[in-house]
Symmetry: D2
Subunit: 142 residues, 4 copies
Amino acid sequence: MLDLDAIYQNADPVFKSLGAKIILLEPGRAVIEIPYKEDITRRGNVLHGGIIMTAIDIAGGLATLTVNDGIDQVTQELKINFLEPMYKGPFRVEGKVVRKGSTIVVVQIEFRDADGKLGAIALGSWFILRRKVQNNDENKKA
Amino acid sequence: MLDLDAIYQNADPVFKSLGAKIILLEPGRAVIEIPYKEDITRRGNVLHGGIIMTAIDIAGGLATLTVNDGIDQVTQELKINFLEPMYKGPFRVEGKVVRKGSTIVVVQIEFRDADGKLGAIALGSWFILRRKVQNNDENKKA
Amino acid sequence: MLDLDAIYQNADPVFKSLGAKIILLEPGRAVIEIPYKEDITRRGNVLHGGIIMTAIDIAGGLATLTVNDGIDQVTQELKINFLEPMYKGPFRVEGKVVRKGSTIVVVQIEFRDADGKLGAIALGSWFILRRKVQNNDENKKA
Amino acid sequence: MLDLDAIYQNADPVFKSLGAKIILLEPGRAVIEIPYKEDITRRGNVLHGGIIMTAIDIAGGLATLTVNDGIDQVTQELKINFLEPMYKGPFRVEGKVVRKGSTIVVVQIEFRDADGKLGAIALGSWFILRRKVQNNDENKKA
């Protein structure tokens, strides 16, 4: 059911530019890894908050994908607490499905550094799309 | 008080890689603009959610900077509702300070496309740092 | 379209126990008022956070009701920033619809004291139910 | 260090009106129980969302109290995903400290029914107060 090849092929440019790798995909759970790179840091050489959120969005989306019985999905809402500055990569980001509804999937996501220290924790909702739409206004009807 | 030059000089690599520009900075308010580029999109050529969050984090941080009477700041928490797929740039992201405390600054942020259509709305807290710290563990004590 | 009588008649016991009143209902907007009472305070005689959230949930739900073209609705997610201690009633809580989709309605809510001072700000999503369900498991399928 | 008696004595009227009981308090963790009562329900006899949030705020606050080395605390921000309608009490609400900083304590909270089914999940921040203030404007300076 999970077509890893298709997932990799369709990996978006943002995923690729982060150098992200999928470490684990199983029903209700996804783990990705991203390396430390200077061009994704901010003052103090700590990881940029936007990058942490991007990685969290990707891991949450992949966890949703493992239980998605529709045809596509979009992030509906995401909320993040930043806990510690992160500078020791590679970083691991794990998404776990908390509840799978027919329309909404709620996922909890944890962002950790190479030592396993928790850098950020998040809760988000993904919306399952069930109908084909003609143009790229697809998310509009959610 | 606001040293635009310093802000630009210190602009992080993520800010630069987005091609972001500061459009307005006044006490309690910041507006940035980012161009549409294919390498920050996902399926359907809509803007990647992680990029929207990154731009929101940057605009909220700049709005905080306009009222920051400490020496530095970090994003403490951020929550975002995605409303519409965004594909018509340049995009405008505006942060407005809702409340300035001595430690916490709460900011509301709106992300709009070139037509002014609202694509995402967010609420976040920024933590004002008041003491110098020696290493890059600076955020740790927040 | 808005049947105020029905709304009042169906007002839940929590709404009644707060002594809440509906001040305004118009498409996309709802304002309620709640009086200050000692039994909804905490230490320092400030309003209890749970009461603030309850009032915010009610005002957001009423704003959603003004645009709901389905048969019922449930709160899907809610996030709140507490800004100031609140002790000067009556309090006004206003919900404004930010975006109405066919399934999800996003609402912003503000909680103010008798002087108009902002005590809390919130963003939430309400889920529109379109099908009758037999039992009280209705929300389950959202 | 934890003075249960004082906690009970100081229990706010909202805590009492819910019929809440503290089941467990240990460093970094708190569990409370609240009974099902008709006067805290809404349509369909399911628990009112405001009550769920109130219970979550209380459990998160108690978890924070177990690690609070200051003199008081306030809820700074709270975000909740509602997962299932809840009608089978008594309900258990558990708060776990995710990170204890010197100023901010981040807590995750889970709300479950008598069968252990997860009804709501939340993430919040509590602000530790360290200085005595004269009046009930105490939270203002956070």
